[in-house]
Symmetry: C3
Subunit: 264 residues, 3 copies
């Protein structure tokens, strides 16, 4: 990549393809086929269970995952309701990583948080492979693009530069200020039914209480401190305030809960 | 084999084992154990979510997947309701690929579409490993067979030749001719709820209209051209006519739809 | 370790993290990041669909899986409702394998069945990595521990010895003796709806009949011997008596069945 960043061979993949179809496997097969034996990638699946076309969820899961990968990891991220339309296919190069996928906001977090060095638009005429489908660019466009990166084909040959300012960014709701704290939104619900809010550890400068539907809930450090059935508030592994119930699902017990922070 | 085709080290796996049990992991562990460190395979999961015992679905997903893998890929395909009975365990060698699994029709498409060079029946007495279960040949028979291929143990030692004509083939319904076109069947439904029909791009020699339950639907090239809720017809990434609804599931909206092609 | 057992580079992973979140991918990314390019692991997923916090199910799936892996495999097993509390983080070294995870009983079967050579408690102060979460030790504690093993950092540096007798073990119900046989419990239900009981092949010294809800069911060797809808008894691939229905789900048809062994 302009000699600035060398792929490590790790390809971390995040899609909404699901696991019941052949899509993920075929995309990996295509990358291997395009490599012509010149490189030996390590594929790591982040998740393929992003709900269909849910770009926001894809963006969040990428935010939660990418910082833990080694330098030089290529992130192949495909949640792509606009496949085959005018949306750009892009490569983003940051100080540590490479990101490949559609320019639809799915890269909002690395684009905001990481130092973006360069952005490129993939020239589909130079990269796309038969059968040139307009519905499965993961296989016909993005897989060959990842192979180009792994083979270290100079980007000048198969992309054109794009302004960083041109990147599509999504806005995620910030906590709303109230008279004595914040009113929170839920950004994500994980498999354990934990509710991940938009209140980050960095915003917790003062002592604070957490109210769920008007009732104070206990703040803890670990799930294990809770009693069975007790609603708990703790900072998630991503540094975001999380509402959880020990050995149970907060998402199942609490429908559309109102979550508030009250500074003391 | 027979020195005609050298495995590349890629093992692409398609089963109905699901992901909640230990079956897939154990099968891979067994392959690695049998290799004795002599080869370093790359496992690619095509899917393990074939509905239990659904050989037809397995055959279709294999059709949609295998042509995109590199030469020398071994396809380990196990949808095997007849495990432990008289059904043969086979290796099919085509010009580009190796296929390992039960002879029950799951290899119908490569057997018809690809150039089959040789077929072998695995001699279970020479290949099977303890505990010799009669219910999990993936672990006790097919995994060791794949290891034999990867270790390049000559097939003569552990198989006997089989006639290509002896292969079990399934028949899949072709579109039915009508006075002015075709009446279609649905071959597959993917995770997005897209309905994949049996009408292939190659059959579309003339201009045609698509009717769903008697109403003409719009033909497009990409999902993005549709309006929310609009029923669309387009060619899938596999070259088959597909009925889809933008950002929604056609399978949920249309129960047992009648799909017709009318040539103009 | 203590130079007794060298990791093969294979890391077999079993968790209750599920596949809809980023947790599994992030944990693997962290292992790769901590390796600093010094080793090239092969990750094998056993399953990530252990029901949340179900230590017993995790222990059983591990029992069914580990004996088939090659010598030197590291098993990273995380079903960890007590994450962040006082429960120990441990490494168990057996004659063939290494096990890494929480000391909560999830290693009950290798601890009982295999020859345990050494047990170590991981010193979290020496191993844990930022952001030092108290809810995701998979990423912040266990992944770095696995990297230490793969990099062959002497365990003396980052663990302290633990007595084998101190290991937490779970008890699993054995078959109950009756006047002329056994009354069985169901230990596991797999994706095919097969009911895996606690009656093992080794206990079947004499001829016996199997009753389900008081009715004798046919004993077979393979599913294929059954008629559609017929209840069958056979030994599973794990050597445990299993109640199955051909091409159907015994779990769906039989709710809380009473299963008995009658010696003849």
């Amino acid at each position: 990549m302009s000699s600035r960043l060398t792929p490590s061979g790790i390809v971390a993949i995040l899609t909404d393809f699901g696991l019941m179809d052949h899509y993920v496997g075929v995309m990996k097969g295509r990358i291997l086929a395009e490599l012509l034996g010149e490189a030996n990638p390590i594929f790591i699946d982040i998740t393929h269970e992003i709900p269909p076309q849910d770009i926001r969820k894809g963006a969040l899961k990428l935010k939660f995952a990418y910082p833990y990968f080694p330098q030089g990891t290529i992130f192949l991220v495909i949640v792509d309701p606009g496949v085959g339309t005018g949306r750009k296919a892009i490569v983003i190069v940051t100080e540590k990583y490479l990101f490949v996928g559609p320019d639809n906001g799915v890269f909002t977090f690395p684009a905001k948080e990481a130092q973006v060095l360069e952005v490129f638009e993939i020239d589909s005429e130079k990269v796309m492979r038969p059968p040139f489908s307009s519905t499965f660019h993961g296989r016909d466009l993005f897989a060959p693009a990842v192979a180009q990166l792994l083979r270290r084909v100079p980007v000048e040959i198969w992309t054109k530069p794009l302004s960083k300012e041109a990147l599509t960014l999504l806005s995620f709701p910030e906590p709303k200020r109230t008279s004595n704290g914040y009113s929170l939104s839920i950004w994500d619900v994980d498999r354990f039914g934990n509710l991940i809010t938009n209140f980050s550890k960095i915003m917790a400068k003062k002592h604070f209480k957490v109210l769920v539907n008007g009732q104070e809930v206990r703040r803890v450090n670990t799930y294990g401190e809770g009693r069975d059935g007790e609603i708990l508030a703790l900072f998630s592994s991503e540094g975001l305030l999380e509402i959880a119930i020990r050995n149970s699902s907060a998402a199942d017990s609490l429908k559309d809960p109102q979550i508030e922070i009250i500074f003391e």
